[in-house]
C-alpha cells in the first residue's frame, strides 16, 4: 500500500472553534482551535500554536506547535516544534523534537518492514520491539 505523504485538501478548525467529536477522513487538518475526541486521518495533522487538542491522533504526519494531550500515532513523521507541548504517548516512524518543545510520555518507533518506497533492508530481524510493525490501516 503506497503511502502518499500528503493529500491536497486541507481542512481547518479555526481558533475560536470548539469541537468535541470523532473526526475521520482522508484530508489534512489544521487545528487552530480546540478539539476533544479522536482524530484519524489519511493525511497530516498540524496543531497550530493556538491549537489545543485533547484527543488521540492518528495520521501520516503530525506537526505539533500547540498543545496536545492524548496519544499520537504518526505513520510517518512526528514533529514537536519549540512552541509545542505534548502530553501522551507517541508512536512514529521518525521523530523530531525541537529545542524548547515539551514532551511528557512514552515514545515508540514504528519499524515497518513493508518497505514502502525506499527498500533499504528487507525485513531485518531486529531485537528491538516491533509489536505492531507499522500497520497502515
Amino acid at each position: 500500500m503506497p503511502i502518499e505523504t500528503t493529500t491536497a485538501a486541507t481542512s481547518v478548525i479555526s481558533a475560536k472553534a470548539k469541537i468535541a467529536a470523532d473526526i475521520r477522513g482522508g484530508e489534512n487538518l489544521l487545528i487552530e482551535g480546540y478539539v476533544k475526541g479522536t482524530i484519524e486521518l489519511e493525511g497530516d495533522i498540524i496543531v497550530a500554536t493556538s491549537g489545543v487538542v485533547e484527543a488521540d491522533l492518528a495520521a501520516n504526519n503530525i506537526i505539533i506547535q500547540g498543545t496536545v494531550r492524548g496519544n499520537a500515532i504518526a505513520r510517518e513523521h512526528l514533529e514537536i516544534l519549540s512552541s509545542g507541548n505534548m502530553t501522551g504517548d507517541i508512536s512514529a516512524r521518525s521523530l523530531d523534537l525541537k529545542e524548547g518543545s515539551s514532551f511528557e510520555g512514552r515514545s515508540r518507533m514504528i519499524k515497518s518492514e513493508v518497505a514502502v518506497a525506499t527498500p533499504q533492508q528487507p525485513a531485518v530481524p531486529d531485537e528491538s520491539e516491533t509489536s505492531d510493525s507499522g500497520d497502515t490501516a
Binding site: 500528503t6 472553534a17 469541537i19 468535541a20
Partner: protein
C-alpha cells in the same frame, strides 16, 4: 464567499504542501469533503462544511453547508446558508438561505428565510421575530 464553490480543474497542486492556508479565510472552520465528523461543533467562528457531519453544530457566526455536504443533527448559527443535504432541526438566529441544491428534512426556525426554486424541503417552518429561542 464562494471560495470553494468553483475550482479550476486545471490547477494541479504542488504534490507536497504540508502547510495549507491558501485561500482559506482565517477565522473560518473549514471541514472538507474528505472528512467525516461525529460530535459537536461549537464556537464563535464561521463554519464551512463540505464533508459529512453527524451531531450538533452551534456557532455564533455563519454556517454554510455546501452542495457535497451531508449533515444530520441539530444545527444552529446566526446566519445559515444551506446548499447541501440536512436532516434534523435547523435554527438560524438571524437569517436562513436555502439554495436550489439543498435537500432538507426536518424543522426550521428562523426570523428570515429565503428558499430558492428547486430546493427540496420536507418538514415544518417556524418563524419568529425575536431571533433566539
Amino acid at each position: 464567499m464562494g471560495l470553494f464553490g468553483k475550482k479550476n480543474e486545471t490547477d494541479p497542486e504542488p504534490t507536497t504542501a504540508p502547510l495549507p492556508m491558501s485561500g482559506i479565510k482565517s477565522g473560518t472552520t473549514f471541514l472538507g469533503q474528505g472528512l467525516n465528523v461525529q460530535g459537536r461543533i461549537g464556537g464563535q467562528d464561521d463554519v464551512l462544511i463540505l464533508g459529512s457531519h453527524e451531531g450538533e453544530i452551534e456557532v455564533n457566526g455563519q454556517l454554510e453547508i455546501q452542495e457535497e455536504a451531508n449533515v444530520r443533527g441539530h444545527i444552529r448559527a446566526k446566519t445559515m446558508v444551506i446548499k447541501g443535504r440536512v436532516e434534523g432541526s435547523i435554527v438560524a438566529d438571524q437569517k436562513l438561505k436555502i439554495l436550489y441544491t439543498a435537500r432538507i428534512t426536518g424543522s426550521i426556525t428562523t426570523p428570515v428565510i429565503s428558499v430558492q426554486e428547486g430546493a427540496e424541503f420536507e418538514g415544518e417552518v417556524k418563524m419568529h421575530k425575536s431571533g433566539s429561542e
